[in-house]
């Protein structure tokens, strides 16, 4: 196995006296797509925030590209190649679509020039081209999610973290968001996706971790987790009939 791009060892995170993550060890290898699934409140968002530097680790280790990143701030990690698309998308609503892309482009030196990079975004998301001079907040939730995911196109990260891309979207837009993630995966993006939408996430991923009350209770190839009806029903409350 190649060296992991991102790895945690016995990571614990707390909100004051409340423990949200206990001893979580995960790893994402280069080019791999990993899903972390779990019910509401399992600690998925907390994990993402700890990985991108928004929350401090209480104990344990986090290594990005082989080096410990404990104590490094989110802007620092973003510049180093981490892209965290947070729950609720994290688009800058009062800025224009174009300004949102510009900031995402400027985060670190890019391979493509700015015009080429935005052309690639607009080719994939024509809606964003139409609305480039409008405030991001004037767009629908789905369009804003596309704008958030477009960050990974305008300046591709070394590690993409996506938190609940389907949250609050219409079924059509959920499908669209997962289509984009499938494209990213096929392009070899190293990616960690967190979802309540367990089946969609596991169908996307190579491997998966199941999080419950802040602990990893199962992990393995995504196909095996997906086939484990008992696990899915007991801990994730998904109905077998939902899948195909």
């Amino acid at each position: 196995m190649t060296a992991p791009v991102l790895e945690t060892r016995s990571l614990s995170v707390a909100y004051g006296p409340i423990r949200a993550l206990s001893g979580v060890s995960i790893r994402i290898a280069e080019g791999e797509t990993v899903a972390v699934v779990g019910a509401n409140g399992a600690g998925k968002t907390t994990l993402m925030k700890a990985l991108s530097g928004l929350l401090p680790a209480q104990s344990g280790e986090i290594a990005f590209q082989g080096r410990s990143i404990k104590g490094r701030g989110p802007h620092d990690l973003a510049r180093a190649g981490m892209l965290h698309v947070p729950e609720g998308r994290g688009t800058l609503g009062t800025l224009t679509v174009e300004e949102n892309l510009r900031i995402a482009y400027d985060v670190r030196p890019a391979r493509l020039g700015y015009d080429e990079a935005t052309a690639a975004v607009f080719a994939r998301f024509p809606r964003l081209a139409d609305r480039r001079r409008q405030r991001a907040s004037s767009m629908s939730g789905g369009e804003q999610q596309m704008l958030a995911l477009a960050r990974a196109i305008v300046n591709p990260p070394a590690m993409l973290l996506v938190d609940e891309p389907s949250l609050g979207l219409s079924p059509l837009m959920v499908k669209e968001a997962f289509n984009v993630l499938h494209e990213f995966r096929d392009r070899g993006t190293t990616m960690l996706v967190v979802e309540q939408n367990v089946r969609s996430a596991l169908r996307l991923a190579d491997r998966g971790y199941v999080l419950r009350q802040g602990e990893v209770i199962a992990s393995g190839p995504a196909a095996e987790l997906l086939a484990d009806d008992q696990l899915l029903n007991r801990y994730l409350g998904t109905r077998t009939k939902e899948g195909a």
């Binding site: 802007h75 800025l95 510009r102 985060v107």
Partner: protein, 293 residues
């Protein structure tokens, strides 16, 4: 009458300059910096230092811009950096204390009496007639400098990378940081710009009155805070319009022989505006800040 309006606009432009800085920190960082009025006060004394050092008098303006800005960064470090989120009120109180200490230290050095400021007579007394109205060069200087600074600030915020980062932080500090924006750095930038403007406004006021005075923070400067509330908390346009409006209103009440009311005008206007429109004249419109996480 037109002379009074011109006077009002000149005083108002200085109110606006102070209010802009105060509202910028609030709008972007959600912080109330009560040391702001005293950085404004200190601007005149920093100007005295520059002029007494024997330099060219107008070089005091860029000097005070930088000194004011550095003071702002110091206030950010002392009063604000340690306090996040819910501790905003504590931070505001700390900045109030810093401002009062600054008054006291200034009085220890320069005394409590106003200190005369000498700039060339061709600026303070010479002038020309315009439509039967006497215009003194210092009035033009004040209008010119304040307008230039406001226009520059507008361009900075709307057109530059620094301005984009400032608006990103105003929108959401957490989201901005995930996009690689150093929120602490932007915070320092904002405090610098905000206080630099206040410092220059303080020096301009001293140019006009001929004195550096340790009282002006709590008289003139405090009104700028009211003007921010009138214009809409955190709204740059509101600060400019509110400042000019109050300047002219004050001048007109003086003109119509109700000069005693002068000081009251701004406070009564603030109470009335906020009673009728709690969000201020421009609040809820185009704003540097949105709902934060």
């Amino acid at each position: 009458m037109t002379a009074q309006i011109l006077n009002g606009l000149i005083v108002g432009s200085m109110y606006a300059l102070v209010a802009i800085g105060f509202t910028l920190v609030l709008g972007v960082l959600d912080r109330l910096n009560f040391a702001h009025t005293e950085v404004f006060m200190f601007g005149a004394f920093a100007g005295l230092v520059a002029i007494d050092a024997g330099g060219i008098w107008w070089l005091a303006l860029p000097f005070v811009f930088v000194v004011g800005g550095l003071f702002g960064m110091a206030v950010e470090f002392i009063s604000f950096r340690r306090f996040e989120g819910d501790a905003r009120i504590t931070a505001a109180l700390s900045s109030l204390a810093v401002g009062l200490v600054l008054i006291d230290l200034t009085q220890k050095v320069w005394g409590t009496e106003p200190v005369g400021m000498t700039i060339p007579g061709y600026v303070t007394t010479a002038g020309f007639e315009l439509f039967g109205m006497r215009v003194v060069y210092v009035q033009l200087l004040i209008l010119g400098v304040t307008l230039a600074l406001m226009a520059s600030l507008h361009l900075l915020v709307s057109r530059t990378r620094m301005g984009r980062n400032i608006r990103a932080v105003a929108d959401s500090p957490a989201a901005a940081s995930l996009l690689g924006i150093d929120v602490r750095r932007v915070t320092q930038d904002v405090f610098f710009v905000s206080s630099a403007l206040a410092g220059v406004a303080g020096l301009l006021l001293a140019f006009r009155t001929g004195f550096a005075n340790t009282d002006v923070g709590l008289t003139f400067g405090l009104k700028a805070i009211a003007i921010m509330a009138i214009g809409g908390m955190g709204d740059l346009r509101g600060a400019v319009v509110g400042g000019l409006l109050i300047g002219v209103l004050e001048a007109l009440t003086f003109q119509f022989g109700v000069g005693k009311l002068g000081e009251l005008v701004v406070w009564v206007t603030m109470i009335l505006v906020l009673f009728v429109r709690p969000e201020g004249l421009f609040g809820g419109g185009v704003h540097v800040k949105d709902v934060r996480a």
